[in-house]
Structures are given as structure tokens and as C-alpha cells.
Amino acid sequence: MKIVLLLAILAGFGGTLAGAHFLPVTHARLPSLTSVVANGGRAEKFLIRLPADRLSVTDGQAGGIRSVGARGVMALPAQFASESLRVEHFKVRDAEGSVIGVAARHWGTTTEGLTTTWSILIPSRGALLLSAAGEARGAVDRALQSAGHRAGSEWSGELAVTLTPTDGSSRVTSGGGEFDDLAGSYTETWTLTGVIDSGELRGTIELNTVTNRL
């Protein structure tokens, strides 16, 4: 009887410690939808559907139509209200439309002029960083106006606005995980299909990345 008790204590003790050590913390993972590009490297597209994937956006003068009527408006401190500064948080999807991560987009004035930076976290894979010269203030608002949208009114159609420079100066760098040792470039295109009466945007943001191993 004593032997049974001792063995059971040892098993309970060891099993619990083994569980604490070996029990994995994992995130559900979907297959990475990458493709090989003709001149080498790997291409991967990330999608953000508006308004469903928008978690939040800052207000302030730079918010423009992207913060009008949006859910989760973040109130900037008064000191930043008139700055060229906009912060947006999104869910991120793969090319097939499945949610795979979350992302933050920061746009604002720096010593280099306006810049855009993205931090994309795919929990099962790691983090990816995108940076580029920023679009002009109110770029999306002006593109919509030129497509016939009037402030306060509904609009529908199809309008593609590319927010990255065309000179290939955009950069993709690794933020950690399986993206380590990857670098490349990206394009960011907003394909807008509507503005509803509350002012909320409808459309898709496409982030097309091309990366190579360093």
C-alpha cells in the first residue's frame, strides 16, 4: 500500500511539473498563402475589409473621412488634435479572407516628412513591419471627392487609391518570429466601394508584400 501511495505521489508530482513545462501555448494557424514571384522572392497579400475589420481610429483633424462614422474612435489628446497624426487598428486577413492577425497603422509627420508605418502581428507566425513615405493629408478624402462623393452624403462605386509611393521605396522588415531575415517592399491600395450615410467607409485595403531572405 505504501509503495502504491509513493508511486502515485511521484506520478502526480512529476506529471504536474511535466505539464507545466511541456504544455504548449499555441495559436491556431492557417496555411501561409505565399507565392513565388518571377524574379525571385515570395509574395504575400494581406487584406483588411472595411468596416468589419476596423478596430479603432484616432479622431483629430487628420482623421478625415476615415474616422467619420467609424466604430472605436480614439480621442487624441488636445495637443495632437491638429497634428498630422492618425493611428488605426485593424484585424488582418489572408488572401482568402480568413482573419489571421491584427495590425496597427501609424501615419504622421516625422523629420523625413509624412511617413506611414505598419506593425502586423500574426500570432502563429510573428510580426512584420512595413514603412513608407506617407500619403498626402486627406488623400482618401480628396480621391472620393473627385469620384463624386460629397461630404455627408452616401456614395457607391469603385475607386482604387494607392497610398504607397511608386518609386519602390516602401520597406518590409521583420518584427520577429518566422519573418526574421526577410526584407522587401510593399504596396498599399485602398479599393473603396461605398460611403454610407453615417460617413463610414466600405471597401478593402490590400497590402501586397514581396520579400526575400537576407
Binding site: M1, V4, L5, L6, A8, I9, A11, G12, F13, G14, G15, T16, L17, A20, H21, P24, V25, H27, A28, R29, L30, L55, S56, R71, M74, A75, L76, P77, Q79, F80, S84, L85, V87, H89, K91, S98, V99, I100, G101, V102, A103, A104, H106, G108, T109, T110, T111, E112, T115, T117, S119, L121, I122, P123, A127, L129, S131, T173, G175, G176
Partner: protein
């Protein structure tokens, strides 16, 4: 039958002993060293300076509501998104930070503690943006403050300081990567320190003041030039 009861009792006894060992295991108490003088110090206060907090459905620790639009998808239900205003050393708003957090695969209750991958994107208007990649051990906070007070109704012992950064840089530091403006291509390190200043399980509220110590050697050189 008697042997079965004895075995079951023994298993429970062994598991309980292991639980006590895990709870008091000093190996998992890892935290960053007391940070020295920073090249840049950014401060935050919770909940006052929170712009947004989205939480994965299975990432709740404090019994918070995951909100109307939680991160419910299987792929992101152990993540959190926190928008913060960061103050400078004279307590004026100086930056906006987006913290994307996820439970880390390095979590190991025997050797490392409960580790959270914490990715900061920080923008200082007029200067630039930088990225901080931190691994934070939240186990000391959980076992000393949250679990006893929040879940076991023990009296709160008062303000407590934590320095959760445990990597991925050397000496328990986070890695900093400059992305744009004055921080472009600057590498460095960072350490986070925070104080839990209030904790009220009845009202489900907590107050925290925190600091992010940024060490950017390249920035010092540029300033001297």
C-alpha cells in the same frame, strides 16, 4: 478498490505539492534589472491614457468584458490590442503607442513563467516611429497581485512594482528598431517598468503607471554630431 483510492489520493497529493513548488518557484520570477538612465523615457497611466483596448475572447485575465467587438476568431483569440498615449518626462503627451500582444510560445511555468509577446509601435509626432519587440513575463504580477487579490479575496498589500521585460535582447531587454524619421535605422534596447497603484476586485478596476525606458546609442551619437 482501496488501492485505487490510495493511488488517487497520492496523485492529488503529488499534484498539490508540484503546484506549491510551481507557485513559489523562484526561477520563473525573472524580470529586468532596474533600468538606468534612458535616452528617452516615455510614461503611461492606465486607465487614463488608454485610447483603445481590444481583447481576445480567451485572453481575459481580469474578468474584463471583451467588448462588443472582441477578437473572437480562433487565430487571434489570445491576442490584445492596446492604444496608448505616452507622456514625456514632464508628463506632457509626447507619443502614441499601439501595443499588439499575444501569448508567447515561450510560456513555461517551470522555467520561464507566463510570457507575453508585446509588440509596440510608437510614433512621436514630428520625430518618427520606432518598434519595440518585447517578451514580458507577467507571472510575478499574476502570482503576487492578481491571483491572491482578484481571485482569492486576499487584502491588497499596496502598490507593487514590476519590470516584466525578459527578452528577446540580452540581459532581459527588449529590442528597439527605428522605422522612420529621427529613429530611422536606429537599433537599441528597452525595458518596461510599471507600478500597480490601485486594485479593486469589487469594482473590477485597476490603476497602473508605467514607464518605457528606451536606449538608443545611435541617437546619442547623432545628437552629439
Amino acid at each position: 478498490m482501496r488501492h485505487l483510492f490510495v493511488a488517487l489520493f497520492g496523485l492529488l497529493l503529488g499534484a498539490a505539492a508540484a503546484g506549491v513548488l510551481l507557485y513559489y518557484n523562484p526561477v520563473t520570477d525573472t524580470s529586468a534589472a532596474v533600468p538606468g538612465r534612458a535616452d528617452r523615457l516615455l510614461r503611461y497611466s492606465l486607465p487614463d491614457q488608454v485610447l483603445e483596448f481590444s481583447l481576445g475572447e480567451v485572453a481575459e485575465l481580469l474578468g474584463q468584458s471583451a467588448g462588443d467587438d472582441p477578437l473572437w476568431e480562433d487565430t487571434i483569440n489570445r491576442t490584445a490590442v492596446l492604444g496608448l498615449v505616452l507622456n514625456d518626462d514632464v508628463d506632457q503627451p509626447a507619443a502614441i503607442a499601439s501595443r499588439l500582444m499575444a501569448a508567447s510560445a515561450d510560456t513555461d511555468l517551470l522555467l520561464h513563467g507566463v510570457v507575453v509577446s508585446d509588440y509596440w509601435l510608437v510614433t512621436i509626432p514630428g520625430e518618427g516611429s520606432l518598434f519595440v519587440r518585447a517578451e514580458s513575463n507577467v507571472w510575478p504580477f499574476l502570482k503576487r497581485t492578481l491571483v491572491p487579490v482578484w481571485y482569492f479575496d486576499r487584502p491588497w498589500q499596496g502598490p507593487a512594482e514590476y519590470r516584466p521585460t525578459v527578452g528577446p535582447g540580452p540581459d532581459n531587454t527588449a529590442r528597439v528598431l527605428g522605422l522612420s524619421g529621427v529613429f530611422g535605422d536606429q537599433d537599441g534596447s528597452a525595458v518596461e517598468r510599471y507600478n500597480v497603484t490601485a486594485l479593486d476586485p469589487v469594482n473590477r478596476s485597476a490603476a497602473v503607471v508605467g514607464e518605457l525606458y528606451l536606449h538608443l546609442p545611435g541617437l546619442q551619437v547623432a545628437a552629439q554630431d
